[in-house]
Symmetry: C2
Subunit: 199 residues, 2 copies
């Protein structure tokens, strides 16, 4: 049986948008079980001395990234429009996604948050937006879920999760982990799935 593919994603990450829109269909086709692993890149970037996205700090890299993401989305038929604000604060959405990690509708919610940010140019930092996306994804009681999301326990869980990312050697998003083997970037998704199949 194929090994579980852990999908480590951060809501502000452009290439996570591409991977997240693709991963469920590809994993289902390959018979690979998925585990969603939301985390925050901010603390990891700050440890490297960055207090903004490296795509903003390094303009040539940023200009290339927007063009490359646009090309990749066109290639895979994924909706994309460069957001008017980048990066957007995904903290509320991340806390909600952590609470909902094992819900049957988690994939729909995650995809919807990325589409809101990177295709519809909506502010995913707005709790009302997150609430609406939860409801549409299939969450029966978005208010209760958001209350749990903002609990001290869940905030601590998200901090622990980001420490776990560092322990896995993760330094960017999306990342995939299969039996401890790390793959970084949307363009390694197929390799990670193949690693899972051979496990």
């Amino acid at each position: 049986m194929p090994a579980t593919l852990e999908v480590w994603y951060e809501f502000a990450s452009t290439y996570s948008h591409v991977a997240v829109q693709r991963v469920e269909a590809l994993a289902a086709k390959a018979g690979v079980p998925l585990a969603w692993r939301v985390f925050l890149l901010g603390p990891i970037f700050r440890e490297q001395g960055w207090n903004d996205s490296p795509f903003n700090i390094y303009p040539a890299k940023g200009a290339y990234m927007w063009r490359d993401v646009e090309r990749r989305c066109a290639k895979f038929g994924i909706p994309f429009r460069k957001p008017t604000q980048f990066p957007r604060n995904g903290l509320t959405a991340a806390r909600a996604a952590l609470v909902a990690e094992d819900e049957p509708w988690i994939g729909r919610f995650v995809r919807a948050v990325y589409l809101a940010n990177f295709a519809e140019d909506h502010d995913i930092a707005d709790p009302a937006r997150v609430r609406a996306l939860l409801a549409t994804a299939g969450c029966a009681d978005p208010d209760a879920l958001l209350a749990r999301a903002s609990s001290a326990e869940n905030k601590e869980h998200l901090r622990t999760r980001s420490h776990a990312a560092v322990a896995h050697g993760i330094f960017g998003a999306p990342s995939f982990v299969v039996n401890g083997e790390l793959f970084w970037g949307d363009d390694r998704l197929e390799d990670a799935l193949e690693w899972s199949r051979r496990a």
Copy 2:
């Protein structure tokens, strides 16, 4: 007729090793004409405040890169052994490659330099090593070529080349340029070839 694929490479770059060992066979199969474009990343990195490879400055990224390059080389059947020194100074080799850019044996020389560095752990900064690689690749008079390589004119040509890289939006290696469209990374080689075919 397919558009020319410009291969922008830097001899210290690990992922350039992977791309350079693959590109001639893939381009020949696709009927895509190649243009070799050696350049130096050092000046570009220094402008970003780095005076070493980012893979050395950011240890998590570096650790991942060595594992990823090892996996990709295994996948494509490319010889690879992590060199005992990284990055190695590729300036002499780059000056020679610039002089030889239109020679029929340029591809053999470029591949041989990368194999020396990233498979045989040889010091490509050693002029005697570069001379031997030139001879093996098919250069009839390596001493004359190395003399031209170290001329003031050729040194200036290499500086101009690296400025041209920046003008193309290049910030890393390998990069591919097709009709002004930029692709970065060994993992975009197939996309760049496809872009050339559709041109």
